[in-house]
């Protein structure tokens, strides 16, 4: 540890900083691999600020400066101003509606001179802070349902605004904060129910609806038969079984079709189905006639992205083709190469070994954050730490799962690696605030 500058470095968890540096450097390499063209003058482009990797490098420098500022800030500042940040974040999200610029399909970006600013990204920090602030309040009793609902609302409100800006992917990130609430005492049942519902929806997509309902009915009857003794003793058990059965079947028969027909857009439906490798059923396409009409003439394979991404990952083999040698990633076969599908560059260039190492680094990061969170004396710091872990976890898992064809294509970046100034800054700020809070872990913040 650096002992010469005790004022800043005291108590700082250097492992997080190192992981941060390693990831950003991997990211720079990956962006270089994805966007470098033969005969690009590398040095010159760094000075010119023209290529993506040089831009990312400058963002990296800016993030470092910002991180340094955060480390110099008093950790009380964050807990004290958490609600103000949240209000600011919501205000900016609302500002987007009148002032957004038109950039390919999204309405979530404000143009500030040369920079594109996306408040939804920034809002993640605000929610993490505000949620921590709310949960750490002395008069918050998180065992009460009301508090749980308020906490959920804090996370859901920006998500709703984000969906209204046509950024469904970013909005989903806010769901990650349930992990924080779970840590703070949200009943396990919520997690179980959430998981069960998720599985049911996936099953609905995979298996024919009536068949699935039939299977569930048989399971319900079987359970009722096995539990006949308990039922004899207490009739509520039977009522519970019937209740669960009714809910499940209605999800299958009504909720899922309803969502697919009227809530989701056609392209989203297509992406979901392309993940599981199926054609979109006719009844869903029929419900999206209007969009279908506007699609005519620009017909493109909906699963093109996923297929190309899978090819890129799959052709990497065990040790990969080497940096700049991947044909898939170098010659534009994978769309959104430098941002959402940056993982492909690593997978194709460095193969399974490279991916495994990268995943290990990420896992190390997450575990380290959890460890750090757990050692906090202050609830605020702990909750914030879990918030950071949750956001990182969600980004990493969804992004990589999307690249390997396990999740539908949702445009969210891979932390510290994807190209993009806003996302790099956001993740840096998230991480460095945690480092700062951790440095003062013995202090109790409210």
């Amino acid at each position: 540890m650096n002992q010469r500058n005790p004022a800043i470095s005291r108590g700082i968890d250097w492992s997080l900083i190192w992981i941060f540096f390693v990831l950003v450097i991997i990211g720079l390499l990956a962006i270089f691999g994805a966007t470098y063209k033969e005969d690009d003058p590398i040095l010159q482009s760094f000075i010119n600020f023209k290529t993506d990797y040089s831009k990312q490098f400058y963002f990296f420098v800016i993030s470092l400066i910002l991180g340094l500022f955060i480390l110099l800030t008093d950790s009380k500042f964050f807990s004290a101003t958490a609600n103000i940040w949240y209000a600011l974040g919501i205000f900016m999200l609302l500002l987007v509606f009148p002032f957004h610029s038109n950039i390919k399909g999204t309405e979530s970006i404000i143009k500030l001179g040369a920079f594109n600013f996306q408040p939804a990204e920034f809002c993640k920090i605000c929610v993490a802070l505000a949620l921590a602030k709310y949960l750490s309040r002395a008069d918050t009793d998180f065992t009460r349902t009301k508090s749980q609902l308020i906490a959920a609302a804090i996370a859901i409100f920006p998500a709703v605004l984000t969906i209204m800006q046509k950024e469904t992917g970013l909005a989903l990130v806010f769901c990650a904060f349930f992990l924080v609430m779970y840590r703070e005492g949200l009943p396990s049942a919520v997690l179980v129910i959430g998981f069960a519902t998720g599985s049911l929806v996936v099953a609905t997509l995979l298996i024919e609806k009536t068949t699935l309902s039939l299977i569930l009915t048989i399971i319900a009857l079987l359970v009722a038969y096995l539990m006949r003794r308990q039922i004899k003793r207490r009739i509520t058990v039977l009522v519970k079984i019937i209740f669960i059965w009714v809910i499940s079947v209605s999800i299958i028969l009504f909720a899922v079709p309803l969502v697919f027909k009227y809530v989701l857009k056609l392209y989203q439906v297509e992406r979901i189905y392309s993940t599981i490798g199926r054609e979109v059923p006719a009844e869903y396409t029929a419900a999206h006639k209007k969009e279908l009409v506007s699609q005519v003439g620009k017909k493109k394979d909906t699963d093109y992205n996923v297929r190309q991404s899978k090819i890129a990952v799959g052709s990497g083999g065990f040790i990969g083709k080497g940096l700049l040698k991947g044909t898939q990633t170098r010659y534009g076969f994978v769309p959104e190469q430098r941002t959402d599908f940056i993982f492909d560059t690593i997978a194709e260039g460095f193969g399974f070994a490279g991916c495994f190492v990268l995943l290990c680094i990420y896992l190390l990061l997450l575990f380290r954050i959890v460890t750090i969170s757990e050692r906090q004396r202050s609830v605020f710091s702990r909750c914030y730490g879990y918030g950071v872990a949750a956001v990182f976890f969600f980004h990493i898992v969804i992004n990589v799962a999307m690249a390997v064809g396990l999740a539908p294509v949702i445009g969210i970046p891979l932390p510290f690696i994807s190209y993009g100034g806003t996302s790099l800054l956001t993740f840096t700020i998230l991480l460095f605030i945690l480092v700062r809070l951790d440095a003062d872990r013995s202090m109790v913040l409210r």
């Binding site: 779970y182 005492g185 799959g314 044909t327 575990f367 959890v370 976890f393 799962a401 396990l406």
Partner: protein, 698 residues
Amino acid sequence: MPVFNQSRSRIIRLIFLIAFFIIAARLFYLQIISSEFDRLAMNNAVFPKIIYPERGIIYDRKGKAILNNTRMYDLMVTPAEIKNLDTFAFCRLMEIDTAEFRFRIREASFKNSRVRPSVFQSILKPQMQARFEENSWKFPGFALVERPVRTYPYNAAAHILGYINEVDPEDVERSGNFYRQGDYIGKSGLEYTYEKVLMGQRGVQYMIKDNLNRLVGKYKEGILDTSAVAGRGVRTYLDIDLQQLAEKLMSNKVGAVVAIDPKTGGILAMTSGPDFNPNELTGPDKNKNYSRMVLDVAGPLLNRAINGRYPPGSTYKPVGALVALDEGVINPSSGIGCAGAYYGCNRPVRCTEKFGGHAANLRLAIAWSCNSFFSNTFRLTVDNPKYRNPRKGLTRWKEYMNAFDLGRRTGIDLPSENGGNVPDTVAYDKEYRGSWNSCTMVTIGIGQDKLLVTPLQMANSICIVANRGYYYTPHFVEKIDGETTEDTLLNRFRQKHEVLTHISDEAYDAVIGGMQDVVEHGTARIAQIPGINICAKTGTAENYTVVDHKRLKLPDNSMFVCFAPRENPRIAIAVVVENAGFGATWAGPIARILMEKYLNDTLQTKSKDDLERIGNSNLMPAYLKRVQYVEDSTRARRWFEKTNDSAYLKKYEQPDRRIVEKYPFEKNNLPLTKEKSESAAILRDDKQFRKPSFQPVS
């Protein structure tokens, strides 16, 4: 401090672990277990670019390249790169209108995407190319791309050399998908026969392409690439000067000339009239020229030297005499009295000579081409007492004919050869229900009736006579550059066929002597060359055709066969000029000029005059105009019925009086029988060439 939830941190870590494990398992499956993605990535990004080798060159006997390669240019366009184009100026330069321009650009963008170059115009005319090059800076998005094209430096030997064209689906299938769409393949002539030798070996360059199929570089620095091997040269026996001379002589005539070196079977010249400039089937106008030639009823694409079936007429007589001598039915001193016709059968066979003693012996009969003598000789051959049955006699005769390579394909190294026709007992049984005798077919003795031969067969049979019994299969190619034992193409041409060497020297002496007399004081005195003993035989064959459903007797075909010098034959020639009259008037001088050119390398003054006279004469049969008119108007009619487009039909609404009325029909036009039509040298639709597409040529 709520400690009770501490255990949940472990569950959260477990969730992290499970999620990462699932992803790692998926990665393991995609990257290590499944192997298809590697292949898919290769398919995506690696493009095997075929490198076409230079096609082999064909040389004549003196080493002159008679079929060579040259470069022409395709104009390519990349629609996405067109910026600030002065469309009007560009169209004026390319001689198209703006609508056509827009259509082509749209077509290119649609077929091949906007970012890749597509052909805007294939094979630019030289002057257009020059104009474009001067102004190319004005037209961004357009570029010239080199393209090898075949060229015929001497503008000669179109039928022999053949041409190449893009492969048809059938070619692709026949080659087992060796050829691909867009490849070129030899379609006729030597280009076809020696395709394997001439095409060389294709190379492959593995290129990396991007998501828009643009080539961006070499795959793995080209370590997998194979280079192309140029096609090998082919050396022929052809004498290109002689060939050009023959083509000049046959211009504006229907017929054929074949000149063979009897000692090797190598063909020195072969021409078929009417012919065409082979360069017309390369270059920018090749499709236009091709359809014009396909629709021409004179059949310029038809190689009559191997495809024309002609009654040999009197040129058959030396062969007939040899057969009779070998069979022992006559001897060199046999003779008959002839007073202008042969009366041995019901209908007299006319003879052109009347003076007494012109058929007193074999030599005289050949020299004066006595029809009576050879009618008699043929009857004697068929009614040979040795066999006691005309069937056996005829069968035996046919065996001789086949030995002379008549009535079957010679096996020349050109595609789609015709075998001619030598009738056998089956043919006559069918026609005369089994009741026939030697009188039925007596005119075979003078080379008429059902006997049909190709000019190549005529020349080849004369080679056999000149060689006194042996021959080599007539062929063009002497050797292939870099020949190895694997090149079996030429083996059959190097085999000596000693088919008739058993015929006695006296017989050959008598016949060859007769042929020499023909030139010295017989019917072909016109063919004399001072200092060279020439042996020859003239021929004049009757022939018929059908015009407007009527049988029409055409002027006789003028035929001539010869070889020289007598002592050591170096050249044998067969000439057929359709509808030109007596053999001695046209065919004879043509043969003499060619012999003189080949043997002396210079022409005497008389021959130079003849060359001028013959070269400038137009002997195209008059009936062809009428046939062409009927064909064209019928086609225009059908086109009108199909499309309601009367543009072509209008031309024929007012009949051209000159063509319709002026044509001289003979009075006693007999109804045409199928057999008779065969004996007429009718123009045939050749399978070698594709059927004309139904589209009138404007």
